[in-house]
């Protein structure tokens, strides 16, 4: 084989371009390479599709039994086999959107600071590395941090506010989540802000704008699609987060009364109950929650794409 190939190579070189045998060989390899690339890509598509189909198939018993009631019922009772996901859907949306609200000012500030103010030097490098590190910390470690640091602080706050001092709950989970998603929203934002053409910034400066005005009237409008996309990416991450949330949310399957109430999210109820779900209807209800999670993340990703397209500044 090896010898043959070598001979062919020599042959190809000797005959030069345009000669038939060498070219056809080259063509075949090219085609094969293209096919492998196409196939790998197609495999991913197939994977996504099969995940979705298997989720749907496995949730058929619960789809049949509860229908649309599954999304509006507040009872989750494995003993009497009544399953409604509203408390978990509410819990997931509340924690994620609250986390986004908390994280936006910080991540925006970080992106603007890193992209516009100090690009080089010790502090920005240190800041960048710490943010990257935040992305790499395992979520169970965030959970520990939540239990040992955030929970006592929140409990102190609750005692001052005369609320039942649980410490755990939606607000605590949101704070943990907002820390976890800072890397996602800030790094994309920073990259987009760096891409704002120097010419238009300089034009604004030349017209007498202050630095703040340049950021407000030139950079942010220009970069808004990228910043929004980063936030949506972070939202997707917040919705799916399981371990850290489970550790600090209080895991109560009831409708939350305030942002300090203990609650539960879709991802954490699946993680909690899946291993010991014995009856088939319980199992398929948990899988149906998985379907809902899948759909919600898909919707967020699609919305992200639309926003990027719509708000992108065309050149």
């Amino acid at each position: 084989m090896g010898k043959n190939q070598q001979q062919q190579k020599i042959c190809y070189v000797n005959t030069g371009p345009g000669q038939k045998p060498g070219v056809s060989k080259f063509f075949k390899k090219d085609f094969l390479f293209k096919f492998i690339l196409f196939f790998s890509g197609f495999l991913v598509f197939l994977l996504v599709l099969s995940i979705f189909v298997s989720l749907i198939l496995n949730s058929v018993p619960s789809l049949k039994e509860f229908g649309l009631k599954f999304f509006v019922s507040k009872t989750w009772d494995p003993v009497f086999e009544q399953f409604g996901a509203l408390p978990f859907i509410t819990g997931t949306l509340l924690t994620s959107f609250l986390a986004i609200l908390i994280t936006i000012p910080f991540s925006l500030a970080i992106s603007i600071y890193l992209a516009e103010f100090t690009k080089h030097g010790f502090y920005p490098g240190f800041l960048k590395n710490s943010i990257d590190l935040l992305a790499g910390v395992p979520s169970v470690v965030y959970g520990f941090f939540g239990i040992f640091v955030i929970v006592p602080v929140i409990r102190y706050l609750q005692i001052k506010l005369h609320i039942e001092p649980y410490g755990v709950g939606i607000f605590t989970a949101s704070i943990i989540l907002s820390i976890m998603i800072i890397p996602f929203s800030s790094s994309l934002g920073r990259e987009i802000i760096e891409m704002v053409p120097a010419e238009i910034k300089e034009a604004a400066y030349s017209l007498g704008s202050t630095r703040f005005e340049v950021i407000k009237y030139v950079i942010l409008p220009y970069a808004r699609s990228g910043i929004t996309a980063g936030i949506l990416l972070a939202l997707g991450r917040a919705i799916g987060e399981t371990m850290a949330v489970t550790m600090v949310i209080g895991n109560s399957n009831m409708m939350p009364e305030s942002i300090f109430s203990p609650s539960n999210t879709m991802a954490s109820v699946i993680a909690n109950e899946f291993t010991e779900a014995v009856t088939s209807i319980h199992l398929s209800s948990l899988i149906e929650i998985g379907v809902v999670l899948f759909l919600v993340t898909t919707m967020i990703s699609i919305t992200g794409k639309i926003i990027i397209k719509k708000f992108a500044v065309h050149q």
Binding site: T75, P78, I147, Y166, V168, N251, N253, P262, A277, V278
Partner: protein
Amino acid sequence: MKKIFKVMLGVVMMLLMVNVSKADDKELIGAGATFPYPLYSKMFDVYYKEHGIKVNYSAIGSGGGIRQLKEKTVDFGGTDAFLSDQQIKEMGADIVHIPVCMGAVVLAYNMPGIKTLYLTPDIVADMFLGKIKKWNDPKIQKINPKEKLPDTNIVTVHRSDGSGTTFIFTDYLSKISNEWQSKVGKGTSVNWPIGLGGKGNSGVAGLIKNVPYSIGYVELIYALSNKIPFATLQNKSGVFIEPSLTTTSKAGDVKLPDDMRVSITDTDAKDGYSISGFTWIIVYKKQNYGNRSYERAKTLVNLLWWMVHQGQKYAEELHYAPLSKQALMKAENLIKSITYNGKQIMN
């Protein structure tokens, strides 16, 4: 390119080899409950050294163990809750429940300054139903005359993940309170009327430690090894029993059914602790299913016999309660009832 292919081929071959070795009769596979896992791994480790039979047990939870046995991917399953008649029907063939050890669930609490706490069944049920809201409720204060209980809200803590511990605890509550039985019922996960949820024993213990004036249930082993204070509970005979390995074992000294599918919570035993239960290994009664060899069935039965006899001595050092005499006798009969092609395997 070629190198990558070679490496990939090697990996595939290795995976295949792992699969082949699994079919060996010198190795048994089990899966199920997490509660007895520390004891099982100790037992299987000793058994491997003594008999050269390797046992792989994965602690994936009782539900998972039952499912895997049903799909016949394991030789035995481990469960903390016995199968209902309906569930046995779904398994396709008769199932034998062999009790291996006993565990207790204790009510751990966090009340600064309070060293001992006495509770009655009614109080426990009312606490978890949300009917008794304050620690200094006259009902609690009355049986704890020596302590001055605080005027604070009770925070109840339960397991958020499905677990055998929850099954034992809710089974107890269903027995002592009609209201609990009709409103909540028993199961590995239930619809808790109030309270916070923690994941795993460690999650519940963490919440109890972190939230002052809270009370929750954890396994006795967990409370003992983490030195969390727990309540002394009045049993059916009216005696206040401090949970321990001895009082747990004693809870099993009652008349037991032949198939051992029994809950011994709220035990009739006079000096037994009320919230205790068995943990079982489940196997198919007729072992000649699928392509199982007689050798494999025999290996499995020998292991089970060893676990309920010689294996019992490892229970106490790991804070599990060994089987009571009554339970051991029943277990022996159950192991003898396992057959291959209609013939008894153990003789």
